[in-house]
Amino acid sequence: MSKSSNMAVSAIHRRGFSSRRALYGYAWTLPAVLCVIFFIFYPVFESARLSMTDQSLLAMETKYVGLETYKDMLTSEEFQVAFKNSVIWLIFGTLGVFVCGFLIGFFLHLDFIGSRLLTALVLLPWVIPDFVAATAWKWLTVGEFGIVSFYLEKIGFPEPSLLASSTYVLPTLILLVIWRITPLMSILVRASLESVPPEYYEAAEVDGATAWQRFIYITIPTIRYPLVIGTLLTSLFVLREFAVVWVTTQGGPVNYSEILPTFIYRQGFMYFETGPAAASSMIYFFFILTFALLYLFSFRKVWKELL
């Protein structure tokens, strides 16, 4: 055989061999791809399709209505209240988690006796199942039995039954969510602080930087990537909370603590209004997507540096 034909044969063998390898590669990733399609893309597609109908499982017929269901939802008072509460929930929940998480993480980063044990204890609210935490908080704050209500009444608080108050029910539940999600942020902050090279601080000290200057010009810039990601993650955790509200108040009293997840659940699973529930969930989906995109756009400089 000539040299060129040998090379051609070997090239064919190599190509044949590598395309089989590629085939194996696709085969191994196929289950994951199928999972993504069936558990993410298909439900979103189906939800979008259902949102264009007025389907109620109790009604005899279902009609395609286009965007009418969206219009009905957006103009309904119950949806508007739930949406407004969700925005408040997002802003104050995320802010609270960020501030508390940062302070606790920073404190845990200081080297003192028992800091590791304290780190483990700080994780407890995160580890406790959400319905257990919600039930416990419910019994702590209920007017006739709760110990928190008892002491609030003693100090003259105007509405000691926090979960029965139209004014304090939402802040109380936001506090519960902050208590639950702060451990995640604090661990993230602590880990990020551990990764700051000590030489930076040494060099800054030599140059005469104060503690505050070191914090502002070294610590914060160094840990900003994990902070940005951590804040986005915690805001998504805040937004997806359901059990906390459902177990404690079910959106009450009246609808003062109704948020979009509980509203959607009630529409779909209790009223069997699957069309409106799908429309509400699509609106919520786009709300979260818009928030995430805006957030990432605001921190685009950070991404550019990272990439």
Binding site: S10, H13, R14, F17, L58, S161, F269, F272, E273
Partner: protein
């Protein structure tokens, strides 16, 4: 030259790898061939025959989902199912207890996934929605003779609570009756019988002790709305007109029933925040002697056995006071009631005959006997034989007297049940809360409920 040698080495290496691959494939095919040689074929065929025959010989399995219930009921049912399975080797019943709070979600999800059991044991008010959805089937359509043989065993008014649009859908074991007034006998010698007497007595009690005179439950939960409905129906209120096409919950009778709640709250005669006290906490307050009177349903004795508080007050039950001059447009209902654990046949049952055989046992006095007050307390029994039992007298002495006189179920109505009610009762719960919190006047609150509920009714009626 060097590059040629390199190319040759690479191609040789590639070739050798290809050869290895081919060898592996050949070996794999050989193993596969050996698996399907003659001996293996006979073995496989024998195995298939064995599995098939085992399948043929095994009993028919009937799955039953039982939602809610108290411990005493679960123990009784377990005993009866064991008894059934021992006596009926051809029909094996697999009974599982399910969570009450998520019953609707569980049933609808299972129905859509075609994973429903053969039989559901759950509440009568779910029947209209389930019939509408096609979840359950009418028992008299399946076997009218069998259903006919059961009828005379049951109290007629209770039997009628599971009839929807002229068809019989579920076998009751007991009913929950509402609304009752539970009172501490140390403080209340003669219970009030009218709204005015109730308010006057509560004012009197307020001055004499630091206990809550009367507890009302006003969360958004269904039970709390049912408690209000019992009072409202007693005042001639109804959800729907006679034709069933118009919501009339803002009728005068309903307005006055909600006004009663508002009067109790504004008069300081009830707990500070009724919007966070549900039916369960209301009873706990009474059993812990923090309250003197409380509204309740007939299952108080059932909860009593499980609450096991530190105090042990001497209490009694009576029908909740009525308006001395009912103001509603409809006849005053003495009480309203619903079966909370009734056996239904699902539309997805693959063994209808076997399921009906078990339901025949479910309807028998052998199974129903547990609900005569012992071992299951606090349930108003569905069968006539249970009312004649000496055990029920110990639990409900006053009710047995009324039953024997023929007046207990006179004027008793089934609890409201029609498609869309769950949504309407949520609106009603919100209205209850907004009124007791002083955020809305009664008429406006009920007008809003009526308007929103009418839209729901129109939608489900299409």
């Amino acid at each position: 030259m060097r590059s040629n040698r390199l190319m040759k080495l690479i191609s040789l290496r590639g070739a050798s790898l290809v050869e290895v691959q081919k060898q592996k494939e050949f070996e794999f095919r050989s193993i596969f061939r050996s698996l399907i040689n003659r001996e293996s074929k006979f073995f496989l065929i024998a195995l298939l025959i064995f599995m098939f025959s085992v399948n043929l010989a095994s009993a028919v399995e009937i799955k039953v989902w039982r939602f809610g219930g108290i411990l005493a009921e679960h123990s009784w049912e377990k005993k009866k199912i064991t008894e059934w399975n021992n006596q009926n080797p051809d029909v094996k019943v697999v009974w599982s207890n399910q969570d009450w709070a998520t019953k609707r979600e569980k049933v609808i999800s299972s129905f859509k996934a075609r994973q429903l059991p053969d039989i559901l044991v759950m509440d009568g008010p779910s029947i209209p929605d389930f019939v509408r959805l096609g979840v359950i089937q009418a028992l008299d359509d399946v076997d009218s003779n069998m259903v006919g043989s059961w009828k005379n065993r049951f109290v007629p008014e209770i039997w009628n609570t599971t009839i929807y649009k002229g068809k019989f859908y579920a076998i009751p074991t007991y009913v929950d009756v509402t609304t009752f007034l539970t009172y501490n006998k140390e403080f209340v010698k003669t219970p009030p019988t009218t709204w005015s007497e109730l308010k006057n007595m509560a004012k009197d009690l307020k001055g004499k002790s630091n206990k809550i005179p009367v507890v009302i439950a006003a969360t958004k939960g269904t039970n709390d709305v049912n408690l209000w409905e019992g009072i409202a129906y007693g005042n001639g209120c109804r959800w729907l007109n006679e034709k069933g096409d118009k919501v009339v919950i803002n009728d005068r009778g309903c307005v006055d029933a909600l006004q009663l709640y508002k009067d109790l709250v504004t008069g300081g005669l009830t707990e500070d925040n009724p919007q966070e006290i549900d039916y369960y906490k209301a009873i706990v307050l009474l059993l812990e002697e923090s309250a003197i009177m409380s509204q309740s349903m007939s299952w108080l004795k059932a909860i009593d056995s499980e609450v096991k508080g530190s105090k042990n007050p001497d209490y009694s039950l009576t029908v909740f006071p009525k308006n001395s001059n009912p103001t509603g447009s409809y006849p005053s209902a003495n009480v309203i009631m619903a079966p909370t654990s009734a056996g239904m046949l699902t539309s997805q049952s693959k063994n209808v005959k076997a399921a009906m055989k078990f339901l025949n046992f479910f309807a028998s006095q052998n199974f129903q006997a547990g609900w005569d007050g012992d071992p299951i307390p606090g349930r108003v029994p569905a069968t006539k034989a249970n009312w004649a039992s000496p055990d029920v007298v110990k639990v409900y002495p006053d009710l047995v007297k009324l039953y024997n006189k023929g007046t207990l179920f006179k004027g008793a109505l089934p609890m409201p049940a029609f498609p869309g009610l769950v949504q309407m009762e949520t609106y009603m719960g919100e209205a209850l809360q907004s009124v007791v919190m002083g955020q809305q006047d009664v008429q406006s609150a009920l007008d809003r409920v009526a308007a929103k509920s009418q839209r729901v009714l129109d939608k489900v009626s299409n």
